[in-house]
């Protein structure tokens, strides 16, 4: 009976969540109902080969700060942008945070923070371009948030315009018009239309070139109306071939001299034109994809994409495998860290409820939810490792994901041994916080970016970064339990056993954190010695880790010398969290040193607020604890 009740509870809790994520249907405004094969298309972006599904998510996150549009996956929106741009111009995807950006464009109406469509902003493009150009000439310290956002918005609109251009070659164009039915017939074109696509004409390039030759060879330069029509079309093709600005839709793999080389479809077409060759098979397939999308022919759409993907993967000769592409798509679809956040949140909620009623049962449920969250968390990290074939922590985003995971593991271990609710509380809270911070970094673009040369060492990257992150997790969890200790002292100070128990957890996790932070820092020193010939150079990042270690060692020695007691030690561990935050973010804000690959910006204010809040908490609780101990 009890088991049945538990199953029922889990179904009630998990059911809606599971269905929420997995029943999403890729519905389009065209009658294409499945984008399964489009998601699998391999695209090159910033040196990484990734499925178009990931690319779509990254672009949409950059544009709108969300990974879905209108409740549908990002690929649905991107498919419209690429294959039917007219259908995407009204999509409100361009996030503007500051109303002054709108005012500077001359748009008078606008909310404080809202999303706008291209049809709303497109007519201001030139103005925006001028503003962004002038803003980019200002120094970093001369620009305000508004100027920065103007530059960002311009980049978004520019990228959007490039994206809608990317498949333009496959759509009929007004400047490629043939009226004369005799010409159409001789070229094998449909007599029902007058406008043709770049691709259609390129498929007949040899015929067109022979026509041109004949016209040129005509005695006396006498040209008929149809001759002029052919020459106009050829001149337009000439003009198209001179368009050289690179497009972002880089999906054509074309190795050169044994080196990897990728180009956009337009570049491929231009190349064929210059060499008097017909278009490559892949371009023809993309043309079919485009046509099928517009006509709603699902069968042709799937068949063409499937052939295109097969050709690319075959040419890549194992550099990208179907398995990895599928793993990444599944990872995108499941969105494991979002689910982890949900479970951790629910775990805290049930734990708090357990203080009021159904104590045992809600406590157990919250533990189960924490473990469930950890499973998704683990799945997410493992997936990333598999996809990228590298250790779990290689960039700032992943440090938060990993530290969050570690704090949850530590929380579960603590709960397993102590069973005092502290493990669940601290584990789930720190898990959520870390994943939320990671989520903010995810908005900046691909979180699986390529590694800069200096980080290209799997051994040191996996040992040094993971170890120090484990250490930071220990210090953070110790500080979070420090908060719990303060509340316990203030509100249930009479229950000495409970408080003593909490302090033991603080002490143990702080020691654990110190050991691993020390080990991680030393390993960093070894890596520096291996790479740069010196163990320690007083670089800001090294100093940041040293500050964390020094503070922790000070706490232990001050306790040893009886300068501080349990209360002060616990308050000190909260400051330990501040040292970790400073080491993690603060150092990056300085913008100096050898570890420039980890730099970031825009978090100064958040960091400042966090530090002030924590220090205020420590000072005020120290004051109240002292006051309480007097009575």
């Amino acid at each position: 009976m009890k088991r049945l009740r538990n199953i029922f509870l889990l179904l009630v809790l998990f059911g809606p969540l599971v269905s929420m994520g997995w029943s999403q249907n890729d519905q389009l405004r065209t009658s294409i109902s499945s984008l399964k094969n489009l998601k699998k298309m391999v695209i090159l972006e910033n040196g990484r080969k990734k499925p178009l599904d990931t690319y779509a998510q990254n672009i949409l996150k950059q544009f709108s700060g969300r990974s879905q549009f209108d409740g549908k996956p990002a690929i649905v929106w991107l498919s419209r942008v690429l294959l039917a741009p007219q259908q995407s111009v009204d999509d409100r995807v361009f996030l503007i945070n500051h109303p002054q950006v709108l005012h500077s464009l001359g748009i008078k109406t606008g909310e404080d923070r809202d999303r706008y469509s291209y049809s709303q902003l497109g007519s201001y493009f030139l103005r925006l371009q001028n503003l962004a150009f002038s803003a980019s000439k200002l120094g970093d310290d001369e620009r305000t948030v508004v100027e920065n956002e103007i530059i960002v918005l311009f980049n978004k609109l520019y990228l959007y315009r490039q994206l809608i251009e990317s498949m333009q070659f496959s759509r009929p164009r007004r400047n490629l018009t043939i009226v004369n039915n005799r010409i159409k017939k001789s070229l094998g074109l449909s007599e029902k239309r007058e406008e043709f696509s770049h691709l259609e004409l390129m498929e007949r390039i040899n015929l067109l070139n022979s026509f041109r030759q004949d016209i040129m060879n005509k005695p006396g330069g006498k040209r008929s109306m149809s001759d002029n029509e052919i020459l106009t079309v050829i001149r337009q093709l000439d003009k198209n071939a001179t368009q050289t600005d690179p497009l972002p839709f880089i999906v054509i793999y074309e190795p050169q001299n044994q080196t990897e080389n990728w180009i956009s479809p337009r570049e491929s077409l231009n190349k064929s034109y210059r060499l008097h060759n017909p278009p490559r098979k892949e371009i023809i397939l993309l043309g079919q994809v485009s046509e099928a999308f517009l006509t709603g022919d699902q069968e042709l759409f799937d068949r063409a994409l499937s052939s295109f993907n097969d050709m690319t993967l075959k040419a890549l000769e194992g550099k990208v495998t179907t398995g990895k592409i599928s793993a990444e798509i599944l990872y995108n679809q499941i969105d494991p860290f979002y689910r982890s956040e949900f479970f951790y949140g629910l775990s805290v909620f049930l734990l708090l409820l357990s203080f009021l009623f159904l104590k045992k049962w809600l406590y157990r449920s919250s533990f189960v939810l924490l473990v469930a969250g950890l499973m998704f968390h683990t799945y997410g990290m493992v997936s990333r490792m598999v996809v990228m074939s590298r250790p779990p922590v290689t960039n700032l985003y992943e440090t938060f994901v990993f530290t969050g995971w570690m704090t949850v593991v530590l929380g579960i271990i603590l709960e397993f041994f102590k069973k005092k609710k502290i493990g669940i509380l601290t584990g789930s809270i720190s898990g959520i916080i870390m994943l939320l911070i990671a989520g903010k970094y995810a908005l900046e673009g691909d979180t699986m970016g390529m590694l800069v040369a200096v980080l290209d060492s799997n051994f040191w990257l996996s040992t040094h970064v993971i170890t120090i992150t484990v250490g930071f997790a220990g210090i953070v969890i110790s500080g979070i339990i420090g908060h719990v200790y303060v509340f316990q002292m203030l509100f249930i100070g009479d229950k000495k056993d409970v408080v003593k128990n909490t302090f033991q957890s603080i002490y143990a996790t702080q020691a654990f954190g110190l050991i691993f932070t020390f080990l991680g820092t030393v390993m960093g020193g070894m890596w520096a010695d291996q790479s740069w010939g010196r163990f320690w150079g007083w670089d800001p990042k090294e100093n940041g880790a040293l500050v964390v270690i020094l503070w922790s060692v000070i706490l232990f020695h001050a306790k040893l010398s009886k300068w501080i007691g349990e209360k002060e030690f616990s308050l000190g561990t909260i400051i330990g969290v501040v040292t970790v935050a400073l080491s993690w973010f603060g150092i990056n804000l300085l913008g100096v040193g050898l570890h420039s690959y980890g730099f970031t910006s825009g978090i100064a204010l958040v960091l400042m607020v966090f530090i002030i809040l924590e220090l205020t908490f420590v000072l005020s609780s120290g004051f109240f604890l002292k006051k309480k101990s007097r009575f």
Partner: protein, 381 residues
């Protein structure tokens, strides 16, 4: 038994005290934070010199507070005294003792590095060979006789030179009196009311104006003005500038000498020749995946090929050469820049780290075991 009982002196007690540890660590924490923030405006080198390689840091320019070197020495004595006189020699203290022994080794290693390590650079174009490295921030005055089959260069450290310093270069029988020396300066072709003929310089420079040191010391251009007094008094003054086009030729007592102010050079026990420099980008991006220098290492008769790439430096005895950077000249010639570090104490941190980590782990485990034991006792009671 502990040695504490036979050494009750107050000084030893003070030195071995954990309170002294806390004070030192706290001071170190402050210095590290200050020194890190200082790097934003003044650069790493200035911060190292002011905070981390100094005995004292002067607050507001006058009030001395301990610098890292002093704190390290006090901490060294503190840990040593604690190990000898405070920490009881018991099995249950194994972790504690190991950790502190490791810290002592760490200190020894840092003193070794502080006093004996040397950092310099080699910049090579493809096909070029060098048997010396150059300092990125220190300068030297180099003098050699012109028209000799075998060029023998005599060099004197220029850093620290000041007005009226006398330099004697015995083998060339030269006496030089320093008139002006600037660590960083600007050079001017026109002089203010000075007799142009009075100043000799290969680049036509007639005046130097001191400038504050650059944040990045490698960008400093030093300048030196001196007179020659022996074997004969040379009329006028000789001006040398760090950015001179070439050495200045001066006739002294019938023989010609070249004078040059250049970055300090360090002779290496080997020669290096750059065969090929390669950069590999990730496809379709400007992110560098790797860069490497294929070189020839020559030690006397021995000639072998070596590859220096990111995270894979060349180690030769106490020397470590790593791929620091590269640049491409306007004519397209590729230059590979290698950093050269000579450190005879490089093994200390490795040994120390292993011992400290072992110590911390043992201490942590013993602490947990003790807690468990106590809990069991209280439960049984």
């Amino acid at each position: 038994m502990t040695l504490k009982k036979i050494s009750p002196q107050p000084l030893i007690k003070f030195l071995a005290s954990p309170k002294l540890t806390v004070i030192c660590l706290f001071l170190l924490l402050m210095v590290v934070i200050w020194g890190t923030v200082y790097q934003v405006d003044h650069g790493l080198y200035a911060s190292q010199q002011k905070f981390f390689y100094s005995w004292f840091v002067f607050l507001f320019g006058v009030l001395p507070i301990p610098g890292t070197v002093l704190i390290f020495w006090v901490l060294f004595l503190n840990v040593l005294s604690a190990m000898l006189f405070r920490i009881p020699l018991k099995w249950s203290n194994t972790g504690n003792i190991l950790t502190h022994a490791g810290i002592l080794i760490f200190f020894v290693g840092s003193f070794f590095t502080y006093y004996f390590s040397q950092e310099s650079m080699i910049s090579l174009r493809e096909g070029e060979e060098k048997h010396f490295s150059i300092s990125s921030r220190n300068w030297e005055l180099a003098v050699w006789k012109a028209g000799q089959n075998k060029k023998i260069v005599y060099a004197v450290d220029a850093d620290g030179l000041g007005p009226d310093d006398l330099i004697r270069i015995e083998p060339l029988d030269l006496d030089i009196r320093v008139l002006e020396y600037y660590k960083n300066c600007q050079a001017y072709v026109k002089s203010n009311g000075q007799d142009r003929a009075e100043i000799r310089n290969a680049s036509g420079i007639h005046q130097l104006k001191p400038e504050p040191g650059h944040k990045e010391p490698s960008k400093n251009r030093s300048g030196l003005i001196f007179s020659v007094h022996s074997p004969v008094e040379i009329p006028g003054r000789i001006l040398l500038f760090g950015g001179d086009r070439g050495p200045t030729l001066v006739e002294v007592g019938g023989s010609h000498h070249y004078f040059s102010l250049r970055k300090k050079r360090f002779l290496l026990p080997f020669a290096l020749k750059l065969i090929d420099f390669k950069r590999i980008f990730y496809p379709g991006s400007s992110i560098i995946e790797s860069y490497e220098s294929r070189m020839e290492l020559q030690v006397k008769e021995l000639l072998r090929e070596v590859i220096i790439s990111m995270n894979k430096p060349l180690r030769y005895k106490n020397f470590t050469l790593y791929q620091s950077s590269y640049f491409i000249a306007k004519d397209g010639t590729e230059y590979s820049v290698l950093a050269v570090v000579e450190n005879s104490g490089k093994f200390f941190p490795y040994i120390a780290s292993i011992i400290i980590f072992m110590g911390l782990c043992v201490h942590f485990i013993l602490m947990l075991m003790k807690k468990r034991k106590n809990q069991r006792h209280s439960f049984e009671r």
